[in-house]
Symmetry: C2
Subunit: 341 residues, 2 copies
Amino acid sequence: MITVAVDAMGGDNAPDEMIKGAVEALAMRSDIAVILVGIESVIREKMKAYSYEESRLRVVPASEVIATEEPPVIAIRTKKDSSIVVGLNLVKKGEADAFVSCGSTGAVLVGGQLIVGKIKGVKRPPLAPLIPTTNGVSLLIDCGANVDARAEHLVQFARIGSIYMEHVIGVKNPRVAIVNIGAEEEKGNALVKETMPLLKECADIHFTGSIEAREIPSGQADVIVCEAFVGNVILKLYEGVGKALIGQMKGAMLSSVRGKLGALLVKPSLKQVMKKMDSSEYGGAPLLGLNGLVVKAHGSSKSKEVKNAIIQCITFKEQNISEKIRESLNQEQNRRNENGV
Amino acid sequence: MITVAVDAMGGDNAPDEMIKGAVEALAMRSDIAVILVGIESVIREKMKAYSYEESRLRVVPASEVIATEEPPVIAIRTKKDSSIVVGLNLVKKGEADAFVSCGSTGAVLVGGQLIVGKIKGVKRPPLAPLIPTTNGVSLLIDCGANVDARAEHLVQFARIGSIYMEHVIGVKNPRVAIVNIGAEEEKGNALVKETMPLLKECADIHFTGSIEAREIPSGQADVIVCEAFVGNVILKLYEGVGKALIGQMKGAMLSSVRGKLGALLVKPSLKQVMKKMDSSEYGGAPLLGLNGLVVKAHGSSKSKEVKNAIIQCITFKEQNISEKIRESLNQEQNRRNENGV
């Protein structure tokens, strides 16, 4: 049995979709329990609309809510009874295996580090969403936790990302590439040029070199390493270009009778593509390298995304990912000590 | 009459598509002349396939070719008789108003600065392609010339980009935004945080604040300011996501009889969208801030892109963009001097 705490108050559609998603997750899997964290009276009232196994769904009260625009560090320090702080404390105390939130990204990232804490040896915990590609999914690491990262951080991202893709997603010997502006050796900014030789030296990862942004959607790498500013741009542009293209196509098709008829016929095919290329199908983004699992899902998440984010926690826990990250970093430290680095 | 020198040897489809594009441009506009630069015997042989007004198409021989993988600075310094160096010298000497190349981006950028030279006051000439949006085009500035830019460079990009959008594209009082990872004031990396207040102080541009990558495709800003690494990622991901989505849709539609029938019906609508969202429709990317116009078009350009890149040079020349950039930077310098900065 795995226990997932869910921030019932975070996100554009809280608390309704959070509660619905939790109930859906419980119905789908019998090996999970959910703790809804938030304003108890509101949650209890909404829960009345659903039927669920009562022993697997409980409420832990939290009287405050952290808004998206609040400065994260201050919010985490002052709102001790917020759903995010209370939820993260459940993970810290071992009462929950994971915490899922659709609320303030900044607060979840800061709170994850301050409350749940980093695995010994982890320099900066990366936020690593899965992005859909034409032949599966890739892990984009890092996407928001650490702007202005250094080379040593990127090397850890590569290691941690490899472990995640291999053990949670099941990709054997995942291909790791660094985002760059060209394939040639001399290309790149200072950070990429510094990181490249360090990645080449890592015997424990399958580093394949540079990846240009245009190759990302066709799945040319399993683990895509970049610093958070670039990762965030990639993640959001992915969403933006897709949305714009689909919108334009719909508009164009519906502007003529011929197009409208065609649209009816191609609808099932397009739906299938949309589902495949829709990142919400793949749950939230885990904040990796912590002493417990913290998952940040999209602020606009509906029950489906919440359910997927909860389900995703099962493999993470089963595969003991935090322990594997700890071991990998330990081994690396030992290698460095032996070599007198 | 405007004279455009075209690198006949640069790009995946050289020299055939370069020559074809030049001939097409001549047929479209009577106020331009084209100089094809490259290996004379090869060009003359290929030219036989076309009819054109001979007084407006001439060949200037260049015996060498710079390959994409050559280190740019060395290539420009040693291959004095390459099509890129010879073409850029035509601009320097005033024999051509502009130079268009689909060859090595690095060599064009380095050569543009070393041979044609920067406008006095320009710190780093940015490469600024137009990208299609759902309601027109936006200028993405900078996209490849200057990795690891500083705040003062980004401020110049904003000014130069405003001038380009206003006078070449005809957008009145263009909205300028800086690429960021969130709309909140405290978000961003060190570079963005440093640049933001400087942009706010610019009285001569219409600065609207941060733009998240997801808002770019819907045309939320006319001039999108970013450093080159991020710009390059945006440009290439734009292309990659579009290609992947279209490919997936085609595959899905053609996998069933119903889909195939629908595909026939929606084809004209989709073609219309493809044309609108296809960046090759908008010519090449100008390298702005030089004492003359240098345009870098995509390495995979066909005759259509070459033609569009040539045509684009007309407005640039007519509007005297280099002079306007010079004036704008002069005025800014005078303001700074008056304020004793």
